[in-house]
């Protein structure tokens, strides 16, 4: 099928931020995860754990607790504020100061629409949740130490607060004394008035909430028990990286007397487990090692299904790398800054498997620090490399880059049209004459770029009406000929705009799973979409219908191994040499789909590259099928084609990330 020259890039020093808090909304099957840099991510557990939304962080915002009330998401942090998020526009909706110093914990009562915040000064503050805002109601009696953890009794009449050395239950005022200096990192208040606490002495303790007496102590670690989460069973995370499950079980089968029994221990983390969520079928944990782990509970899921597989989510499900095809430049996005690199060059040719001698090393051209407090939420580089844009929740910045031999100049465009005040996605047209920015209500703003100024042209809007959502646009793609613009939103809609006419061309039939990558073929103008459930569609823009190939693929079905992959396809590009080739990648593989070849059926070997290599050339065609999967590269962040037909592969080995994490709790291992 062919050889490819690959620029294998490992200098993107992407460093995910540790997970600090988590909240699972069982009604919508969404998990909200807060990271150390203040970013909040929403994962859709119903849609293959796809990372639907990312709300970028802010310098001062350190989220310590997250909470769902219905569809609304609240957070409290060490800046002392309570924040509600606007999940449609991916930004904080408003913040309310708690006036109690850093807020450590947040707990919502769904029964009576109250939220309580535990503060540094020892107060528990109660807020009423109103339609559009929250309003301070009153303070509880002030305690001596900071309030580290809170848990409502499901009835909403009582709340348990964990602090330094003690747990206090408010309203009943029965305190449970604990003499030792321990930090009660988390408490859980169960419906039978049992309070369960996890503390810095490594114990999970079960208390009687009425009398304040200790019922049972489980010593589960030598270090801190940092997080607790309860459902019908209870899980506790420790600073050793283990998660321990407790279940309320009768001690003797068939008897009524039940007790909290330690049942399972998982070790999926190398560092502290800071946040836990318990879904119906799984334990979700995250912590210092930045990975989100979904550990299915095998007694609640069917065995050997996709649901029963352990999942680790290490990389974001969106692109942090932008590649300028024509100029061989790479733009890396960090929360705090952007880096612009020029790829190196190599000499000559080589056999497959060879590394070519590098004539020119890659070069870091620009290190651009962002302005303001808000973190960068997306960025784009024009294909010619002449324009660079990034956006935060509060502003959009556009820069003109000029290269003169060895020097490079960067100039910020001073005046941007006022319509361009914030964006979720940015995209340049292939001739670098236009900038597209997705804005609120799924609209897309079109801006024309001149030599040193820019001009607002138009706002593209989907037809508003029955059945349309106002979800944020998370994917934008402009066709090579700049005729078409495709915009996908987290409501699973994909709108196609005709850029010549500046109006909506059509809406692709809504598929139940969220698109994770979209692209328009440069020659055939077919839209290729890949969804969170790994399905692939090809939609003809001219005919406004799925293509023959797409129908065939749907009819025959994708190979099981393809469907079982657990990371989404995050990027699609096309081979300029062969228009039948679609290049896709996920975290662990690079795949070229050759549309001219037969599709693999269920019995075919999907990963057949090794086999093909070993058979003589004459027989290869007989064995080959459409999916050419290459696993040479791992932990991929981006795969893109360059104009000279080379591929750029950006890897970020997980080991490199691990090596930059702070040292975990030291454990004595045998013979060390």
């Amino acid at each position: 099928m062919g050889e490819f020259k690959v620029h294998r890039v490992r200098f993107f020093e992407y460093m995910p931020s540790p997970i600090r808090a988590m909240a699972f909304n069982s009604r919508t099957d969404r998990l909200a995860v807060a990271r150390g840099d203040g970013a909040v991510e929403i994962f859709n557990f119903a849609d293959n754990y796809f990372q639907e939304k990312v709300i970028p962080g802010q310098d001062s915002r350190a989220v310590e607790a997250l909470c769902w009330v219905g569809q609304r998401l609240f957070s409290a942090g060490l800046n002392g504020e309570i924040t509600e998020y606007d999940l449609e526009n991916l930004r904080p909706k408003y913040t309310v100061m708690a006036y109690g110093g850093p807020a450590w914990t947040l707990s919502m009562s769904t029964e009576c629409f109250l939220c309580q915040v535990g503060c540094e000064d020892g107060t528990v503050k109660m807020f009423e949740i109103l339609e559009e805002r929250i309003q301070f109601q009153r303070n509880h009696d002030r305690q001596k130490g900071r309030i580290i953890s809170l848990s409502w009794h499901p009835s909403g009449t009582h709340i348990a607060a964990g602090m330094m050395g003690m747990i206090r239950i408010f309203e009943t005022e029965t305190g449970s004394p604990a003499n030792k200096e321990v930090v009660v990192w988390s408490v859980a208040f169960l419906s039978d008035h049992t309070v369960i606490s996890g503390d810095s002495a490594g114990k999970v303790q079960v208390w009687d909430g009425f009398t304040g007496t200790l019922i049972k102590t489980h010593l589960i670690t030598k270090w801190d028990v940092l997080a607790l989460s309860d459902q019908s069973s209870l899980v506790a995370g420790t600073s050793e990286g283990t998660v321990t499950q407790f279940q309320f079980l009768p001690l003797i089968v068939g008897q009524q007397d039940k007790e909290w029994v330690r049942t399972r221990t998982f070790k999926n983390h190398s560092h502290d487990v800071r946040a836990l969520a318990h879904t119906e079928t799984a334990v979700v944990s995250g912590g210092m090692d930045t990975q989100l782990v979904v550990q299915p509970l095998l007694d609640r899921v069917e065995k050997n299904t996709q649901e029963s597989a352990l999942r680790k989510i290490a990389f974001p499900h969106r692109s942090l790398v932008c590649c300028a095809k024509k100029s061989g430049l790479l733009l890396f996005q960090f929360p705090e800054h952007l880096e612009l690199w020029r790829l190196g060059e190599s000499d000559g040719h080589g056999k497959p498997g060879d590394s070519l001698p590098v004539r020119k090393k890659p070069e870091k051209l620009i290190h651009l620090k962002r302005k303001g407090e808000d973190h960068i939420c997306c960025s784009a580089l024009s294909p010619c490399g002449g324009w660079l844009a990034y956006t935060t929740v509060s502003s959009v910045r556009l820069y003109r880059l000029q290269y003169n031999n060895n020097s490079i100049s960067i100039k910020k465009l001073p005046k941007l049209p006022k319509e361009l005040c914030s964006a979720h996605q940015l995209c340049f047209s292939s001739d670098s004459s236009k900038l597209f920015a997705s804005s609120k209500h799924s609209s897309v703003i079109v801006v024309a770029l001149g030599q040193s100024e820019c001009k607002y042209l138009h706002t593209l809007k989907p037809k508003s009406g029955y059945g349309t959502t106002e979800q944020p646009v998370h994917l934008l793609f402009v066709s090579e000929d700049s005729k078409w613009l495709a915009a996908a939103n987290t409501g699973c809609e994909i709108h196609i705009y005709n850029l010549n006419k500046l109006k909506l061309h059509c809406t692709v039939p809504v598929y139940s799973s969220c698109p994770t990558a979209i692209a328009i073929h440069p020659v055939t103008s077919n839209l290729v979409t890949v969804h969170a459930n790994q399905q692939i569609f090809e939609y003809s823009l001219a005919q406004k219908e799925y293509t023959e190939w797409s129908r065939k693929l749907q009819k025959q079905g994708l190979h099981n191994l393809w469907l079982e992959r657990d990371t989404p396809i995050t990027h699609i590009s096309f081979n300029p040499n062969n228009q039948a080739h679609i290049i896709l990648h996920d975290m662990f593989m690079l795949c070229i789909i050759d549309q001219s070849l037969p599709l693999p059926d269920r019995k075919t070997l999907l990963y057949n590259q090794m086999t093909l290599r070993s058979v003589p050339e004459s027989e290869r065609l007989r064995h080959s099928h459409a999916f050419k999967i290459c696993k040479n590269f791992q932990h991929l962040l981006c795969v893109s084609t360059l104009e000279d037909q080379a591929l750029v592969v950006v890897e970020r080995p997980l080991l490199d990330i691990m090596s930059q994490l702070p040292a975990p709790v030291r454990q004595k291992k045998f013979a060390t």
């Binding site: 490819f4 620029h7 056999k351």
Partner: protein
């Protein structure tokens, strides 16, 4: 392991301003091990009860006078003796309140020290080297005192010991950098003079310590460079002419202590027992240069056994009375109890099963290195040992006291009584506590059985062996005794439970077992587990109808590989001879006993010479049995009897090789061994083949592992990939 326990303070000290002197002139034992007399460097003498940390009496000389020598207690007369202002001898009793009103005598020459060894009379050593018994001196206080020492010679250290009948005063002097030792015997008076070998120039010993053992005086001394030497002086000296030139005494380096930077200044080494030395003022090897440590070193193994950091300055003073070390440090005088259990080979090699329990408890009765090596009876240090044990046991519990009574009782009591008492003792208490007693019990029982042929209690001995507190070095004669008494059950137990049976004894057992008539063997009652194992082996042999060749697969391969070897013939031969090989050549009980021998630990080099003693008949029989076992083991349907103690295939193979090694030339010449040798040859061949196949597998696995190693990928590379 020796251990230092938590110490306690006996009294506070008033050291000199510049901390050059601890303020303690000396500490002497009083009437018993719990009382000491402490003389301070100025004017007073205090008597303490150590365990109560309480002074019982205090005597002070008048202002202006000073005590110049530590007070000693004379247990015979219950008097204290001290010297004030170098020339005034003071003697008083406990009930005397004022020292001024007690007996005084002024002598004509300066006194260095008054010594009073346990069991001896008080002796006065004058500064110029003369020695007088106190009694004779007091009879004529102003008698002229001769000068023994040369002009620039001065006494550095002195002590007094009682060796059997004679009392000795030992003192060391220094003269122009030479260190001389004087050994002054009293009644009859003898004087020996020795010179110590010179250490590096300018270095003279910091401390001396003396022990008496086997008519020899062992002098241990520490140099500032950390070297601890031992010199042995004979009590019966060579010459007794006075003034003769000092012989150089040979020395042996016992320990080279780490000194860190510089030399030691205030340090001292004290002999605790044959193998242990207490050292103060020497840095702990793993604690940097700080010298404020008290350590116990084992001189046999050159190992540090225990160490303790002492707060405050160490003055290099150290006394030891009955398992307690007295050490002045900073502004206190501390008492630190210690134990130095005897080290045995077994415990040193970590083979002793209950070594752990032993460490923390009182010393075990496992005899020491030296005794095993030199075959001495456990007599010389007997008194010391029992005293040590008693004191440590006193603090433990009352139960051990009764164990003592049992120990006494079994020396003389009739068999039934002994049986009853031992049984009672074993049933009464936790075995762990009994550890030391069991060793002693057995050694007493064994020596009594050896001495008195009519005295032998197999059941009790078996019971004691069953406690698993014993090892062979604790009772070296037990196995041979059992063999002599034809107590095969006990033999089996010993082979099973003793980790350290010497190869000679193993061989003796083997010889006894193999020559044992089967009829006799069947009479012995043996351990049921091991019997059931052999029974299973033999019963399978009988039940088997169809012949199955255990090593058939490998020999088949053999044949296909090399048909010229005449594999067909071998096969036929096997077929015909197989039935006889499949029958156990020895009886059931004999097989059980042989299995025990197969399972003992041994070292080839030591075993081989003893194996040569076996007669040809026995060798063939033994080999036949081994062959039988091997065949049984290599059968495909050989049952895995995990629960049962059984020799492993490698053990069997090793013994086959060993026996062949020892007797090969002889076996080659015996016609009846020919078939056997051929068979064994094929076994060994198949084993070799197996090992070589395993080697091949290992090689290919290693290759696989090497293949997995990925090449390093840098930050950036340009690669060519090909997709098919």
């Amino acid at each position: 392991m020796a251990a230092l326990y938590e110490g306690y303070t006996l009294c506070g000290l008033v050291p000199e301003q510049n901390l050059s002197n601890s303020g303690v002139r000396g500490i002497e034992q009083e009437r018993d091990s719990d009382h000491v007399v402490v003389t301070d460097s100025t004017r007073s003498v205090t008597m303490y009860k150590v365990s109560d940390q309480k002074p019982l009496g205090r005597w002070t000389v008048k202002q202006g006078q000073s005590l110049t020598c530590p007070a000693v207690f004379n247990p015979k007369t219950k008097e204290y003796v001290a010297v004030s202002d170098n020339q005034v001898i003071r003697i008083w009793k406990e009930e005397d309140v004022l020292l001024d009103k007690t007996f005084k005598a002024t002598v004509s020459s300066d006194i260095w020290r008054v010594h009073c060894a346990h069991g001896g009379d008080p002796v006065v050593l004058f500064q110029r080297g003369a020695v007088r018994l106190l009694d004779s001196l007091l009879s004529a206080p102003q008698q002229p005192i001769e000068e023994i020492l040369a002009q620039e010679e001065a006494i550095r250290w002195s002590t007094n010991i009682v060796a059997e009948t004679q009392q000795f005063v030992i003192f060391t002097t220094e003269q122009k950098g030479d260190t001389l030792i004087y050994l002054q015997g009293l009644n009859p008076n003898t004087l020996q003079r020795y010179r110590l070998e010179r250490e590096e120039p300018g270095l003279s010993p910091l401390s001396f310590s003396v022990t008496y053992k086997d008519k020899h005086i062992h002098l241990l001394y520490l140099y500032p460079n950390g070297h601890v030497y031992q010199s042995v002086l004979s009590v019966r000296g060579l010459g007794t002419e006075e003034g003769l030139q000092a012989l150089q005494v040979p020395r042996g380096l016992l320990l080279a202590l780490p000194v860190g930077e510089g030399l030691l200044e205030a340090a001292s080494a004290l002999v605790l027992d044959e193998a242990h030395v207490a050292v103060v003022g020497v840095p702990h090897p793993s604690a940097g240069a700080c010298k404020d440590f008290l350590c116990i070193w084992n001189t046999n193994f050159q190992t540090l056994q225990a160490g303790k950091e002492m707060a405050g300055k160490i003055y290099g003073q150290l006394w030891c009375y009955s398992n307690k070390l007295f050490i002045p440090h900073g502004k206190t005088l501390s008492v630190i109890p210690f134990v130095c259990p005897k080290s045995s080979l077994a415990s040193a090699l970590g083979k002793l099963k209950q070594a752990k329990a032993e460490e923390s408890k009182s010393p075990a009765s496992v005899p020491s290195w030296n005794k095993i090596l030199h075959g001495e009876k456990a007599q010389p240090s007997r008194t010391v040992e029992t005293r040590k044990m008693r004191t440590s046991r006193k603090s433990q519990s009352t139960l051990c006291l009764s164990a003592d009574q049992v120990l006494d009782l079994i020396k003389t009591a009739p068999i039934e009584a002994v049986q009853k008492e031992v049984e009672g003792l074993l049933s009464r208490s936790d075995i762990q506590d009994l550890q030391p007693c069991v060793g002693q019990l057995v050694s007493i029982l064994v020596s009594r059985s050896l001495a008195d042929p009519s005295f032998y209690i197999p059941s009790t001995l078996a019971q004691l062996v069953h406690t698993q507190c014993l090892c062979h070095s604790a009772c070296p004669d037990l196995v041979l005794l059992a063999l002599e008494k034809k107590d095969y059950f006990l033999c089996q137990l010993c082979l099973q439970f003793f980790p350290d049976i010497p190869e000679a004894v193993t061989c003796a057992c083997l010889k006894a077992f193999i020559s044992l008539p089967d009829i006799d063997a069947e009479k012995a009652s043996l351990e049921p587990d091991s019997i059931s194992f052999v029974e299973a082996l033999i019963s399978r042999e009988r039940a088997q109808v169809s012949f199955q060749n255990g090593y058939g697969t490998t020999t088949c391969e053999d044949r296909s590989d090399d048909p010229s070897e005449g594999g067909g013939i071998i096969k036929e031969k096997e077929k015909t001879s197989a039935p006889s090989e499949q029958i156990c050549p020895v009886g059931l009980h004999k097989a059980v006993l042989l299995n025990e021998v197969l399972q003992t630990a041994y070292s080839e080099t030591f075993l081989l010479p003893h194996l040569k003693d076996l007669s040809s008949q026995h060798v063939v029989l033994f080999l036949q049995y081994l062959q039988f076992l091997y065949l049984k083991y290599s059968q495909d349907d050989f049952p895995q009897m995990h629960g049962l103690r059984s020799p492993s295939l490698t053990q069997i193979m090793d013994w086959v090789c060993l026996v062949l090694d020892a007797h090969f030339t002889m076996l080659v010449m015996i016609p009846e061994a020919k078939g056997l040798l051929l068979n064994l040859h094929s076994f060994v061949k198949s084993q070799v083949r197996l090992v070589s196949e395993l080697g091949k597998i290992e090689g290919s696995l290693q290759e696989l592992k090497n293949m997995k190693v990925k090449k390093e990928v840098g930050q950036y590379s340009v690669e060519i990939i090909e997709l098919f």
